[in-house]
Symmetry: C2
Subunit: 273 residues, 2 copies
């Protein structure tokens, strides 16, 4: 999916919600455990309940890999199911990969091609530098989402270090990585818990989309994120995972997830005006 | 495997060689393509040919993930096969993972437990800080190998940035992360292409094992690495991947791999004296 198409979907759905499919088999409703693939069944019902309110889905690979081959089969079924919504939703592999050049090429094949899982985008860690990121940028209409400023406590360990360039490390990451691609094939992860930093980040990357985790279970504020981070295109994908997936643990989980997503979509619709 | 056991194996085998199982189906001998699982068949023959010369194997996940579910089945068979050498070889998931706490917990389950792939160690990227690394440190006799200074060109993009602490970023990474664990559950990745930096690194982490990629195809020197990096325990695992795996593309590939590994082992034996 290209940038123009993504912006169009956001306008049509009046939403920039991304649902994080961090499906944890120990947290899904008990009655699903009888189905042949409980994780896929859960994802399918969440997708069906939220597809009109959501512009992106973001499975985090860790939750699938932790269940071994069966987990990856659940992911494969989920991605195949999302195929039928291909033109109306953006699908992100939250994988936080990155390795030496010849290895990142393999990851690109794994996550951005028909040979592996055919996602629209993958999250990538910047520590290993240019040759670890560039192989993901060579595929048309596919995106790299670079970790800039993350939503967790550990973000303060290194990302805010002051560097020789008289900047924070995350600013160096933004400034350097943005020269490796364009705002048509790169986005950045910026945690909602760092909303006050978005004003500064927008000075460095005014046109890039930002993927913003941390609203919901992690405590970030949607209004603040929009106030500081929105640009003319919208330019935001706001992720919520646990607050939507586990809105209820009962039979009504999908309906409750839909209501939670709808609340966020309504708030987004107001903030888009 | 604990540190004492690892040191014992190194002494017994007179080797600190790690073979990187970065198996690329496009590079393995053609005759293997007729077997039911060519990648596993290749790995099995490489393992059989090198087990007496090698103290560690390190499959890089990218090469398996790029082949989808089938690739992960090949990896599963490889790990199961290595089970029978459990007490004589250390097995590393070169996965370069790292995410917010609850997600890194899932990765720990995926790579350091019977529920997923039961490796001895996993490589982890430091950018997301403490809560992204700590979940891997809670499992007895399992190890985290943190990226400090990598072997690729992109290492120069961020890892050498001078920080407010009047140090390079990779030094800050070493100094901070070493407080999160001990030299009995943490190691560091330091590229052989940065051998001259090892003297300095040894001042910061005198007792930690270092996993050193970049000897062989990437051009690093074994002698230099040992000169600057060896400590009283040895303290090094030197990885070679392509130079061993693809020593020959013909029927004699396993024998040629063995000879290549043997050359390295002999050189290591001399350097251990």
């Amino acid at each position: 999916m290209n940038k123009k198409e993504l912006i169009q979907i956001i306008k049509q759905k009046k939403s920039f919600l991304c649902v994080g499919l961090d499906t944890d088999i120990t947290k899904i409703p008990r009655h699903l455990l009888d189905s042949p693939d409980p994780v896929f069944e859960f994802n399918k019902q969440i997708i069906d309940a939220t597809i009109n309110l959501t512009v992106a889905y973001k499975p985090n690979l860790a939750f699938y890999e932790s269940m071994g081959i069966n987990g990856l089969l659940s992911l494969e079924r989920t991605i195949n199911y999302l195929e039928k919504f291909r033109n109306e939703v953006f699908v992100i592999a939250d994988a936080k990969r990155g390795d030496i050049g010849n290895t990142s090429e393999q990851y690109a094949k794994a996550f951005l091609s028909h040979e592996g899982f055919d996602f629209d985008a993958i999250t990538v860690a910047p520590y290993m530098g240019e040759d670890s990121v560039k192989p993901f940028l060579t595929i048309e209409n596919k995106w790299v989402i670079v970790l800039a400023l993350t939503s967790n406590k550990g973000a303060f360990d290194f990302q805010f270090l002051q560097t020789e360039n008289n900047r924070k490390l995350y600013e160096d990451v933004l400034i350097k990585t943005k020269t490796w691609g364009t705002d048509e094939n790169m986005m950045y992860v910026v945690g909602a818990t760092q909303a006050q930093m978005l004003e500064n980040i927008r000075k460095i990357v005014p046109n890039h989309f930002l993927l913003v985790p941390g609203v919901g279970a992690q405590g970030g504020s949607l209004q603040e994120v929009c106030h500081y981070g929105m640009n003319n295109d919208g330019g935001l994908l706001i992720n919520a995972s646990r607050s939507i997936l586990y809105a209820s643990k009962e039979n009504d989980f999908a309906e409750k997830a839909r209501l939670e997503a709808q609340n966020m979509q309504k708030e987004m619709e107001m903030l888009m005006k």
